[in-house]
Structure formats: C-alpha cells, structure tokens
Amino acid sequence: MTSTAGDHHARSPELARFDREPPAIELVGVTKRFATPKGGIYTALRSLDLRVEAGEFCAVVGPTGCGKSTTLTLVSGLEPASVGTVKVHGKPVTGIGDDIGFVFQNDAVFPWKTVLDNVCAGPRFRGRTRSDAQAAGRDWLRRVGLSGFEDRYPHQLSGGMRKRVALAQSLINEPRVLLMDEPFSALDVQTRSIMANELLTLWDLTRPAVVFVTHDLEEAIALADKVVVLTAGPATVKATFDVDLPRPRVVQEIRFDQRFVALYQQIWEALRDEVEIAYARSATAVQEAS
C-alpha cells in the first residue's frame, strides 16, 4: 500500500545517519480503542505503523476526526496504546517522556502567567532555578521575536503571538521529539504561513524529530520531509510520500514550485477518497440525528 514518491531524491549525508540510530518514533501495529460514554467501544486507530527518524519532519494528514491527534497522545505518553508497541528513541513509552514537546491545537499557555513565566514553566517544573530559567526564557523569547513582551499576559497578545509563546514554551525544554497537533489551525491564513516559516527556522536550531498533524495538505508539503496519509477512522496509514523539496524553504512561495504542484496532486489523489468517505459518514450521521 505504501508508495514512495521522489525516486530522484538524493540522500544527503545527514539522512544517511538515520540508518544507524534507532528511529525517534516507532509505532508498530498500534490500535487504540476508547470506551464511549454510552458504553460502546470506539476504535480510533487500527494497526497503524509509523516510523519517524531522528531529525525528520513528518506531517500526518487525514480527514477530520480520523484519529490523527490520537497518534500524538500515544507518542507523548498521555494515553497508552490498546494493542501494539510505541517506542521513542528505541524505548517503549510507559509514561510522559522527558524528551517530548507538544504544541496543542487550542491555546494551552497558562493565562495567569506572564509571557516570560509561561516560557519558563518547563525548566521551572523540571527543577531549574528561577534566574537560570528566566535567562533561558528571555533567550527563547528573542528567538520567537517576542522580546519586550515578557510581562504581558496571554490575553493581551494576538493569536499568532500566543502561538509563538507556545512554541517557545515547548522548545525551551529542547525536546528531541516535537509533536504538533494542528498548531496553526486557529490562525488566519496570512499569519499561518508566516508562523509555518518561523517554525522551520526554529526547527532548524535544534532539529528535533517532528510529527505535525494537520488537515491542510499545502501546509504539510511545505513543511515536511515526509507526508503520511491516514485513512478515514479508524485510522491506519494509507500511503507515505517523501517530499524532496530542497531546504531552506520559503513557505509562502514554495507552492508555486513545479515539484510542489506535482506532489500536491499525487498526495491529494490518496487523500481525496478518505475525505469523501469521512464526509459521507458525517452526512449520514446528521441525517440519522435529525
């Protein structure tokens, strides 16, 4: 079922390194079931396999509600898998790991903490001294372009600025695995592509392995080394595509690239059927409900 695009993709020496290290993330035959409030069982993921190498940027696309986010909660250790193994850096996940960063879909910055205290939260939770954490916090605020906003509260910032705070908050722990759950979906289109660009710049600083969940195919191709298409729920991997666009990329302009257009068409072919299945299901659900 797995098709690989980009046959002329030359492996850089950096990519060759992947072959020696254990993968940053490895899911083998993972199934996740939830008990529904009505007493039934809902299967979110079914025998899903996913492998993300260290330093690799992997985007996961799929129709709405297919279980994309569930994948992230399993990798982060927030939820255990029902069946199968989840490994991070070769070790089975048993709880929340130290090496994980998570950027949530909705605002998850602490509204009662100032911008600086929000960014310092991770190091403080992990027992670093206040002055030490604040020095690191100011450093990261500078990197995300928020110097001068240290003492503001989140509600005084725009949506894009709050996302920067969330990014700095995650990255300050220097995670080797960064999980992102539709992080920019609440932003307007322009802010979104600016943030995507900045994400790439920040990613380049520490090069964590990234799993970026999105329903926006354009965003996925523009950012990632690899795009994984999931089926309509219960989700499993339908196809994986290598994105061989050169880096550094300019997110706002890359969509005009011929190669980008070709990839988009190819991946959309795989995604379209799943989107239609998911839509048909939600439409019948609405009919049954009414």
Binding site: I96, I100, G101, F102, A108, F110, W112, F125, R126, Y153
Partner: protein, 294 residues
C-alpha cells in the same frame, strides 16, 4: 442645554478638516453624567424610603413600637456610641463579632479550598466521601450552633466553629467544581512540560479554580457573619448578636434595627475588601464583564 451639548463632543477637528482624537484620553462627559445620575437616583431612593418610613410613623399609620422609626434608630446608635451599650462599648461588640466572623471565614475558606481541590483531584477520595458531604450539606447547619454552644461554651470558639461550618460548604463546592473544570489542554500541557502531580495542582489547578473560589468568597463572608450573629443569639456574653437579642428582649425595635444597620455597614466594607482582593488576584484575566455589575 447648548453648552452641555458642545461640551459632550469627544472629537475635535484639525486644520485639514479631518476628525481626530485628542492625544490625551478623551473626556467622557456622558459617562460622568451617567454615574452622577446613578448616585443621585440612589440618594433619592434612600430619601424616599427613609423619609416615607418616618412620615408614615408620624402620621400614625405605622406603629413604631413594632417597626421602629428612623430618627429613633439614629438616636439609638448615637446613644450606643456616646454612652456604650449594656454589655460595654459599641466598638467592643463590633470587634467581637468581627473577630468571630473573620476567623470563621479564614478557617472555613482554607478548609473548603483544600478539601475541594483534594476531592476534585483524587477520585478515590471523592467517591468515598461524596455521599457524606452531600448528607452534611443537607442538614440545616444553623442547628449545629446549639450543639457548639453546649460543647464549647459562650466564648469565641463556638461562634467561630458555626461560621466555619457555614463557610466551608459554600467554598468547598466551588473549589471542587473549579478543579473539575480545569481545561484539559492546560493539564496535558503542564504534564508534558514536566510538572509533577503536586506542581500541576499548585500551579495549574489552583490558579485555574481561583475564579470559582473567589466568586464563592463574596457569599461566604455573608455566611461567616450569619454564623457569628446566630451563634451570639444562641448564647453569648458579648457581640452584636447579643446586642440585638437584648433589644428584642426589651421590645426595643429601634435597637434591633440599629444592630442590623451596623452589621450591614460591616458587611459592605468586607465586600469591598474582597472585591479588591479579587481584582488583584485576577489581574491576568481580560475584562469581560459586559452586563451591569453589582
């Protein structure tokens, strides 16, 4: 009228004829006038109510023996201030009642917050204690006052305990609810950032539940006062409650109402202090109230 209208225009016109806003914050005469109107209306209401009361007494429509009389109440308060009450000076009575109420309030709030958060965070505790708490809450707790007077005597502790019991439940249920309604995203985020369970409780759950807890403080200080006063009714040697009861015993309606009035002033001051505390602690929150404020 014309003068008023020209003054109330908040914008000015520059040489090019464009409308611009002045650099200094624009004066808002309309807002000022609105507040003035509110104060005038309040004053009017007081004058009508108290004046009408006095008038009806003087016209012999209302019997002051049962319902008191504003001038009588005023002279009663003056008498208490100048000559003291039968139980000692008026300030001592206020001080005693306030001490009971404040102590009861502090202990009750502390216990309510701790218990609410503990039960909200630890499911096992909530499951075990849930029915007992519901049962305790359904008892008319004022009755416990009689028990406390018998057990702890006429002094401070029986009133404080009654106030604690009244305050505890109001705060407890709010703290419990607030704990359960913490945004799951915030909890997940804190855990991933490396917070231990204890740190999640103190740095995420507590501040997040604070909105709920602070809302309950307004009601609970009222409860604390009720606890202190009722405790004094049931048996005491000092305090405003005893003062009111003594007045009741001598068929002194003016004395009862004067005691009520003093209590109301104390409660208003306390309410103001709690609002100040609320503003200070909830600085991080955007101003979101759009409706009228009480």
């Amino acid at each position: 009228m014309t003068a008023l209208r020209t003054r109330s225009v908040p914008t000015a016109t520059d040489e090019a004829g464009d409308i611009f806003l002045a650099d200094a914050p624009p004066r808002r005469p309309s807002r000022f006038r609105r507040r003035l109107a509110v104060y005038i209306a309040r004053l009017l209401l007081v004058v009508i109510l108290i004046g009408g009361w006095e008038l009806f007494v003087r016209l012999k429509i209302v019997d002051p023996f049962f319902w008191g009389q504003p001038t009588g109440i005023a002279s009663q308060i003056r008498d208490w201030i100048e000559h003291g009450t039968v139980q000692g000076s008026l300030w001592l009575q206020v001080e005693v009642t306030l001490e009971e109420a404040v102590l009861g309030f502090l202990v009750g709030v502390l216990a309510g917050v701790v218990a609410g958060i503990a039960l909200g965070r630890i499911r096992f505790l909530a499951d075990v204690l849930g029915p007992f708490i519901k049962m305790a809450n359904s008892i008319p707790r004022i009755v416990l006052g009689s028990l406390f007077i018998v057990a702890f005597g006429l002094g401070l502790s029986s009133k404080v305990l009654l106030a604690v019991v009244l305050v505890f439940f109001a705060v407890f249920f709010n703290a419990f609810q607030g704990t359960r309604e913490v945004d799951r995203n915030l909890l997940a985020n804190a855990r991933i950032l490396g917070a231990s369970r204890w740190k999640v409780t103190t740095q995420v759950v507590l501040p997040s539940a604070f909105t709920w807890i602070l809302a309950s403080l307004h009601v609970s200080f009222g409860f604390a006062l009720i606890g202190a006063i009722v405790g004094e009714f049931l048996g005491a040697d000092k305090g405003l409650g005893l003062l009111i009861r003594t007045a009741q015993g001598t068929f002194n309606a003016n004395g009862v109402i004067a005691g009520m009035f003093i209590m109301a002033v104390v409660a208003l001051v306390a309410e103001g202090l709690i609002t100040l505390l609320e503003r200070r602690l909830l600085r991080w929150r955007p101003a979101q109230l759009t409706g009228p404020e009480l």
